[in-house]
């Protein structure tokens, strides 16, 4: 996967007002445009001391909402934050918008925003296996296949998991679900 980092600290270390976040968004969206169609933007909070909810909403949450609308093809976005506290304002705003994003910190990851526990469990399994079919996931989670499909549909909608068509034989198309990490 083609990953590029976007340093939020380029706008300052204590961020900031809603207007400042809105002004910064143009640069983040430009960085998104420059990615290849399957690229990933890692929004890095390294060297940021304070990130207000208002700034995070304008810069990150609104950009993420745009990404989910499909205008950036298969691109994905994650947040790299050295502490949960730093991403607290973003977490609040994603929750308000009923969105969820992945936060990474080295090899660790967590979910920011609103995602139900069963969906988090399914996401964790996809990340642990790197890729899997819905059937394999349903078996591992010991849940009916249609319940697993519903969870995966939401994870794909939120661009937390990517789906790839592997078979297209009647009566059903089969997909492989891939981790974005």
């Amino acid at each position: 996967m083609n990953r590029r980092s976007f340093a939020v600290s380029q706008f300052g270390t204590r961020l900031g007002t809603r207007a400042e976040g809105e002004a910064a968004r143009a640069r983040l969206l430009a960085a998104m445009e420059e990615l290849p169609p399957d690229g990933q933007l890692v929004v890095s909070l390294d060297d940021v001391e304070v990130l207000s909810g208002s700034f995070a909403d304008e810069l990150i949450a609104k950009s993420y909402q745009l990404l989910l609308s499909g205008v950036y093809a298969e691109r994905t976005m994650v947040v790299a934050a050295p502490s949960a506290e730093l991403a607290e304002g973003l977490n609040d705003k994603l929750t308000q918008r009923n969105l969820a994003m992945l936060r990474v910190d080295g090899d660790d990851w967590s979910v920011l925003g609103r995602l139900a526990v069963p969906h988090r469990d399914t996401l964790a399994l996809v990340i642990a296996r790197d890729q899997a079919t819905a059937k394999a996931l349903a078996d591992a989670l010991e849940i009916p296949a249609n319940a697993c499909h519903q969870r995966l549909r939401r994870l794909v909608e939120l661009r937390l998991v990517l789906q790839e068509r592997i078979h297209s034989t009647a009566p059903r198309t089969q997909y492989l679900f891939r981790s974005i990490l």
Binding site: G12, R14, G16, E20, E49, V50, S54, D92, R97
Partner: protein, 288 residues
């Protein structure tokens, strides 16, 4: 007599009831930033309305010196010649600062934070949280205080002071207030100021229907409560007041335009030890 979060409403009621009378503050023995800002806005509002408030100013030297150091006498009155001859109280922390331009807010917040950090070695995590709180509260003034365009001059101001048991941050304006601002949401008029405070403070609504907007004030109230602090949010004729002893409730108060907010955060939140009452009483109180 005190001009504080707890007692300033007596002055507001007096000023509303006795138009044309002298507001006698000579016996005032203590003022906090919230009382100071409300007094400042009250005087300004009455002058702009063409009914200037006659004030008999405090005479207690520490109070006058603190008010002078906080910039009170630099701002409006022409009568405080006495105050200018008294020394400024060196313990004053953050004088009254104007909040008008959103572009200047991050710098203003840095200034407040720097003054506090110069005085104490603060724990980093609560210090960062306070910076976030200030960014959100300060930017509300340019964003919302004149949302309808009806306010001639919202006159946003803020000030901060430390005490032996806590830190008081006050932010105030005399803009259009919650009720007029929230009525712009388009889901019908809000009937009372109490309903507007309930909507903004307890339910997290803002004048925007965008789901990403609002909720910050609600979160700040929750945070102050979790710290066992005190918070007052006043708008129009209603006041939300929460303190650890009595909990939170809405009260009817003398009508006044805009939004005025005070947070009192215990010192221990910042890792600063409380000062022994015998060692240092409130800095502009009667023991000085």
């Amino acid at each position: 007599m005190e001009l504080t979060i707890e007692w300033i409403e007596d002055v507001m009621t007096l000023a509303a009831d006795e138009e044309g009378q002298v507001l006698d503050l000579r016996d005032v023995r203590f003022v906090d930033p919230y009382g100071l800002l409300l007094l400042d806005l009250l005087i300004r509002d009455r002058a702009e309305c063409g009914a200037p408030l006659q004030v008999a100013w405090p005479v207690h030297a520490p109070v006058v010196g603190w008010m002078r150091a906080m910039g009170r006498y630099d701002r409006i009155d022409r009568t405080a010649q006495l105050a200018r001859r008294l020394p400024r109280v060196s313990t004053a922390l953050q004088p009254i600062a104007s909040i008008a331009d959103e572009a200047a807010i991050t710098r203003l917040v840095d200034g407040f934070d720097a003054r506090l950090a110069e005085r104490y070695p603060l724990d980093e995590s609560p210090r960062r949280t306070l910076v976030r709180i200030m960014i959100e509260l300060f930017q509300n003034i340019p964003q919302h205080s004149n949302a309808t365009g009806d306010a001639v001059d919202p006159h946003g101001i803020a000030a901060m002071q430390d005490y032996r048991d806590g830190l008081v941050l006050a932010i105030a304006d005399k803009g259009v207030g919650f009720r007029a601002s929230l009525s712009l949401r388009g889901d019908g008029p809000i009937e009372t100021d109490s309903a507007a405070i309930d909507a903004a403070v307890l339910r997290g609504l803002s004048r925007f229907t965008d789901p990403g907007r609002g909720e910050e004030l609600m979160r700040i109230v929750r945070m102050v409560r979790s710290w066992d602090g005190t918070i007052a949010v006043r708008s129009g004729g209603a006041l939300f007041h929460h303190d650890p002893a009595q909990g939170g409730d809405l009260y009817d108060v003398a009508p006044f335009p805009g939004v005025q907010i005070a947070l009192c955060i215990p010192r221990r939140v910042f890792g600063i030890e409380e000062v022994d009452a015998k060692g240092e009483r409130r800095f502009n109180g009667p023991d000085e």
